[in-house]
């Protein structure tokens, strides 16, 4: 897990400035974060159609708010995650919300015979994450997929840093109990991962 370096954050600040001057310059930011946001929404909702809709709505809001966006020294993704989380909450309150069983995206380009064991394991890991309680799931996704720091996660979730640490601890403890030890590295490398 790698948090953003000051140089990376500065580069992102400049990208946002460029996008504020010219909307076409928003594309690299979209490309960088669309997978993360989609995975986040899907893991929260378990619904591919909702994940697509909320992801598109998140970036629509990002584009609309771009002229008013103020850089605060944290990754742009922290703001996107907060928007996406709010949209999910709003959708969740609507009547008719159906939570489907987790189903995972196929790994495009992967050869099933070579990657079967590693893919099965990755599927199990993602399914275990998807089965966590909502706030633990959110904390895990923001930390291990979003690479956000505790204070950034706390801001996205509207919780204290201490609460985020506790959620992470409880989630990892539950996942370790459910999943056991990770596959040994030599088995992962033999299967091509």
């Amino acid at each position: 897990m790698a948090h953003r370096t000051p140089a990376e954050l500065e580069a992102e600040r400049l990208e946002i400035l460029a996008a504020q001057r010219d909307r076409a310059a928003f594309a690299p930011l979209y490309e960088r974060y669309v997978d993360q946001i989609h995975a986040y929404v899907y893991t929260l909702t378990h619904d591919m159609e909702q994940a697509n809709d909320v992801t598109a709505a998140t970036f629509a809001k990002a584009i609309e708010e771009l002229p008013r966006f103020e850089w605060r020294g944290v990754p742009y993704s922290a703001w996107l995650y907060r928007v996406a989380g709010n949209l999910v909450s709003r959708e969740h309150r609507r009547p008719g919300w159906i939570e489907l069983e987790p189903r995972m995206l196929p790994d495009a380009g992967a050869d099933p015979s070579l990657h079967a064991e590693a893919n099965d394991r990755a599927d199990s890991v993602r399914a275990a994450v998807a089965a966590l309680p909502h706030d633990q799931r959110q904390a895990i996704l923001l930390r291990f997929r979003g690479d956000l720091r505790n204070r950034e996660i706390a801001e996205v979730m509207g919780r204290s840093e201490g609460a985020v640490k506790l959620l992470t601890f409880r989630a990892l403890t539950a996942l370790r109990q459910r999943l056991g030890a990770p596959l040994p590295a030599e088995r992962l490398s033999r299967s091509g991962s």
Partner: protein, 113 residues
Amino acid sequence: MTAEDRLDEALSSDIVAFAASSEVRALVDTGDEIGDALSTWSLDAATRTRLFADALAMTSAPSINERLRAFGLDRRVQAIAGGAVVTCAAAAVSVAIAKGRRHAPTSPAALGV
């Protein structure tokens, strides 16, 4: 220091993780595995493009100025507005002149003095 603090430090530093207890190291390993599993999630190019198009479509509800510009009406509207301003100004000047004539004292030349 609480268990969650110890885990948090180990997650943030490889050196701390290396020196941590076996229980904490096990959780760090699980965290690494989760990061790897979640990072394999990627959308295909067509879906990325479609979602971006959807996002743009959601933002494309045009403002009144954009609608006018799209139909090439903005210049006409500006011309009409400009014409209206000129007309009002001319009317105001005419009224002022007319009032001035009514109230101005008659010049001696006009009286043939």
